[in-house]
């Protein structure tokens, strides 16, 4: 167990970070550990001490209430104004923050955290109000688990904390759920500075979850008084993080001021963060940066090429640090049964797609492995990713051959995706027109025997609110038909509804091939099986899982792909069962995932494309993590007088 934990703590994110963790036997990171920032890149740029960082934002937060929100945009608030028990450093290592040390029992089911003493809650004027104590974590969790406040992240607490879901369902009056007392929930303040969590199951990634919003503290008495109004404005919450919100005028501006009382204030270099609202930030941001009215803006890929060619702006452009918080993949739809509003087939007849798309024909095709492989090898992922990256970035950087993105997790200093199971998959890009054509020939021969008709109609959907997705779908159609021939497939691109897209399309199976994504919920490869894995119910049916590809339909209908899907589920079950040997666990998950990809049950696509930016910060100095809110922290980042250049950015990347 001990060994395993130390490895978890070494979860590394960037590919360049994969060295130096192996064999590390230290169970508790040194709290005083100086962040070893790759600061050399700052040579030639002058640091502005305690400066004001000016930035535009186009999406206003709906609330400051970090305990209830579920959007990335709003996580940025909690991340900067509230400290968590642990935090990540700029290389992706977990470190002490509000907790100074922690222990766990032999089964790793009870975790005890020792809190840093003398930390204060401050209000929006910066005045100290009270001490941060263990009870604040308990009260915050009670708030999260109160149905009335409708926290969007409560489900993460359900997944690990003992009795959390039972308490919630009891309070919510769910049928058949008993009302239980909050004291039975697995969170307890042992004394003022000792906090104890009891888990519902052993999870190797528990510590990483401590950085998430639903495990943040909040001042209990204030939660009691304000209830639902907590965090509706700057003066209805208290702060304990690197910053406090000194001014919040919705759709005008938000000012975050450095909290000098914070335990780590020496590592907070920017004095004030001034965020100004502008709904057209994407259109005028670049011009404002050029006029030096703001210190950061992202650049549309269309503009980047021109900026990089212009000597006046060339040195102002750099990039966002690569992020793997979302990974994309093409889903094959295995379920053509019409689904009811609970996403089961109960009481429903007919097809989930319009009959003019020939669903029966698709069922034959999608269950044929050669058919799936022909598509897998015919998709040029680079071509569609290039739409978003522009000419100035290499689209290959963002292609992923695996579902779990590279750099998400590592064991013994080896990246998860570098394991033996992935050797063939990682060797080269899937795109191979020749291979695609030979799979096509094989598939045509096999499918004709089964009575399929050609061309197979393939319904591709996209959300019209995402213009890049729309463009990528257009290119995909043309590109696939060009490689495989119109005698074989007929790609039909149809816009989905802009409202309720996921419900109407992906969850209701109203598509055949769909670009989807998934973001990690915790730092363990298991999280990447969630979109595909469906649990077996007692009655022999399969649960709906995360309502992604409904692969279990193949098993239940006993179609050609049934055995393949069953084998994948079996491999995941086996991997999940391993909780005491992290290397074996990862290897088992890798085996399952490699199987999934090899048999083309899904086609991995790539990670989110990093924006080109104009920035006076250095993205390599910020905290970094494969999931959660740490990436949005300003702590540790320095403000420079000059904008960062591509050269400086690249120097930072290799550092």
């Amino acid at each position: 167990m001990k060994k395993m934990l130390s490895l978890i703590l070494c979860l590394a994110m960037a590919r360049s970070m994969l060295t130096g963790c192996g064999g590390n036997e230290q169970t508790q990171p040194n709290p005083g550990n100086e962040t070893n920032a790759p600061g050399d890149v700052s040579e030639g740029r002058t640091v502005v001490e305690n400066g004001t960082y000016r930035v535009l934002y186009s999406g206003e937060v709906t609330t400051l209430n970090y305990l209830t929100t579920g959007t990335t945009n709003e996580f940025a608030i909690g991340a900067n104004v509230i400290d968590t028990l642990l935090e990540y450093d700029n290389k992706g290592n977990l470190e002490a923050s509000l907790a100074t040390e922690w222990t766990y029992d032999d089964e790793a089911m009870t975790w005890t955290f020792k809190l840093r003493e003398g930390q204060k809650w401050i209000d929006h004027t910066g005045a100290a109000v009270a001490d941060v104590t263990a009870q604040d974590f308990v009260d915050a969790m009670k708030y999260v688990l109160t149905p009335e406040y409708a926290s969007s992240t409560a489900n993460l607490v359900f997944s690990v904390i003992k009795n959390a879901e039972a308490y919630y369902n009891g309070q919510a009056g769910v049928e058949g759920a008993d009302v239980i007392d909050f004291s039975e929930v697995g969170v307890k303040a042992v004394d003022e500075y000792t906090l104890q969590y009891t888990l519902s199951k052993e999870v190797p990634y528990f510590l990483s979850m401590m950085t998430y919003v639903c495990f943040m503290p909040a001042y209990g008495p204030q939660l009691d008084t304000l209830g639902a109004s907590f965090g509706t404005s700057a003066d209805t919450m208290y702060y304990c993080g690197a910053y406090y919100i000194s001014k919040f005028e919705p759709q005008v501006q938000m000012v975050m001021t450095k909290n000098v009382n914070n335990w780590d204030a020496d590592n907070v270099f920017i004095g004030t963060i001034q965020r100004t609202y502008n709904a057209e930030a994407g259109t005028i941001g670049a011009e404002m940066a050029k006029r030096d009215e703001i210190d950061y803006t992202s650049l549309d890929s269309d503009i980047v090429d021109a900026w990089l060619n212009d000597p006046a702006t060339k040195d102002m452009v750099s990039m966002e640090r690569p992020s793997i918080d979302y990974n994309y993949f093409y889903l094959f739809n295995f379920n053509m049964h019409k689904l009811n509003e609970n996403y089961t087939t109960e009481g429903m007849t007919g097809y989930s797609v319009d009959e003019k798309y020939e669903p029966e024909n698709w069922i034959l095709a999608v269950n044929n492995e050669n058919f799936r492989k022909s598509i897998k090898h015919a998709i040029s992922r680079v071509a569609t990713i290039a739409i978003t990256t522009g000419q100035s970035a290499d689209p290959h950087t963002y292609v992923q051959n695996t579902i779990t993105p590279e750099g998400f997790a590592a064991v013994n200093g080896v990246d998860y995706t570098a394991q033996d199971a992935f050797a063939d998959i990682m060797a080269k890009d899937f795109f191979d027109a020749e291979a695609a054509k030979s799979y096509k020939d094989a598939a045509m021969a096999e499918l004709k025997k089964e009575g399929a008709t050609f061309p197979v109609k393939v319904l591709v959907r996209y959300n019209p609110t995402d213009s890049d997705w729309e463009k990528a779908s257009t290119v995909l159609e043309q590109q696939l038909e060009d490689v495989l021939g119109k005698d074989y497939i007929d790609i039909i691109v149809v816009a989905g509804p802009s409202e309720g897209f996921l419900n109407k399309v992906r969850r209701s199976c109203d598509y055949m091939l769909l670009l989807s994504n998934w973001g990690a919920d915790y730092a363990d490869p298991e999280t990447w099986t969630d979109p595909f894995y469906q649990p077996l119910n007692d009655d022999g049916t399969y649960g709906r899982g995360s309502r992604y590809s409904y692969m279990a339909t193949a098993i239940m209908d006993k179609t050609a792909a049934a055995d393949t899907v069953l084998e994948y589920f079996r491999l995941v079950d086996a991997a999940r069962a391993i909780t005491d040997d992290i290397a074996a666990r990862y290897a088992a998950f890798a085996k399952a995932e490699a199987y999934l990809i090899d048999h083309a049950l899904v086609v991995p696509y790539g990670t989110s494309v990093s924006d080109f930016v104009v920035t006076k910060l250095n993205p390599w100095e910020g905290q970094n993590a494969p999931f959660g809110v740490s990436n949005q922290r300003y702590k540790g980042q320095k403000l420079y007088k000059e904008f960062m250049s591509m050269t400086e950015y690249n120097a930072g990347a290799t550092n």
């Binding site: 919630y168 404005s233 057209e280 259109t283 404002m288 009215e293």
Partner: protein, 313 residues
């Protein structure tokens, strides 16, 4: 007249109730997914709790009834989706004043520029003033506002040497948004004033005045203008109120914290209470605008009486 007014206000109230009810029902047809930003990962119990918290689990008639009872007590509820749990009235109270200020200024500017322009165009009909004016009017109508607003901002700020974004404390930064907003109205007022004045100038009383030997300017301003202005007045309140409601383009581009685009935003956010409050506000404003327009017409032109105008505006 008072009887007429009372009857008319009574009918307007019924209209408002129907509008609100229809909008209320329409909003309830929106997909529930829109209520939750991370719907994907939530459990059923969480979704139910979320709907419960917003009172969406009750039958729609019950919800509607509750809404009207609360409205009667002056309670428009709290926002869900736009700014969670903040009272709707508070949000609107923040946003309405700036839009009113900017709207008033832009209306004043458009009157100051539009009326002389229209008058001059009519006075020198067919001359270069008229031609240039017509060109301007056609330009404003033909080129999408979304395009020339952006041009104005880009080059205007350089010319005035001011920041791109609006700053209420700096008087110079009011110029561009106010002027951009006024452009449409300037063209609009000039176009109609010119038209009315040209019409009037062919009327008998003008010929009589001319025959009597009154000077061109006297005829223009003492006779024609006064009569031509009457039909304009009818449209002033509603054009004023519409400008005050704000412009989605202008407010987005300059970061003016007003009402422009707010409705689009809250509809997209599925924020039922906000949508209802804003629709109520707009509909009220619309109804009052019509009423005011009719009253002003009667006051300015004694020939027009209320009774005959029933419904015939």
């Amino acid at each position: 007249m008072i009887k007429y007014l009372a009857k008319r206000i009574g009918r307007s109230l019924i209209t408002l109730v129907i509008i609100i009810s229809v909008v209320f029902l329409l909003m309830r047809m929106m997909p529930i997914e829109g209520y939750f930003p991370n719907f994907d990962k939530m459990t059923d119990a969480q979704i139910q709790a979320g709907l419960e918290a917003q009172g969406l689990l009750d039958p729609v008639p019950v919800q509607l009834g509750r809404f009207f009872v609360n409205l009667f007590h002056g309670d428009l509820g709290v926002s869900h989706g736009y700014r969670n749990n903040v009272p709707v009235t508070e949000i609107l109270a923040d946003k309405v004043p700036i839009s009113i200020q900017m709207g008033c200024l832009s209306i004043i500017v458009s009157l100051i520029l539009g009326i002389p322009l229209g008058t001059m165009m009519a006075r020198y009909k067919g001359k270069w003033v008229d031609k240039m004016g017509t060109l301007f009017i056609v330009f404003i109508q033909a080129v999408p506002a979304a395009v020339y607003y952006l041009m104005f901002q880009l080059y205007g700020t350089l010319l005035l040497d001011i920041p791109l974004l609006f700053d209420a404390a700096n008087w110079k930064s009011w110029i561009l948004p106010v002027f951009s907003m006024a452009l449409g109205n300037i063209a609009y007022y000039a176009m109609w004033l010119r038209r009315y004045m040209v019409d009037e100038s062919n009327k008998d009383y003008v010929r009589l005045a001319r025959a009597k030997g009154a000077s061109g300017n006297t005829i223009m301003f003492r006779h024609i203008f006064r009569n031509a202005f009457v039909p304009m007045v009818q449209y002033l309140p509603s054009s004023f109120l519409n400008t005050v409601i704000g412009s989605i383009y202008i407010e987005s581009l300059y970061s003016v914290p007003g009402m422009g685009g707010l409705l689009v935003q809250v509809i997209k956010d599925n924020d039922n209470n906000m949508v209802q409050a804003i629709v109520l506000l707009y509909a009220t404003v619309g109804v009052i605008g019509l009423l005011l327009g009719d009253i002003m017409m009667t006051v300015l032109d004694p020939r027009i009486s209320f009774g005959t105008k029933e419904g015939g505006r």
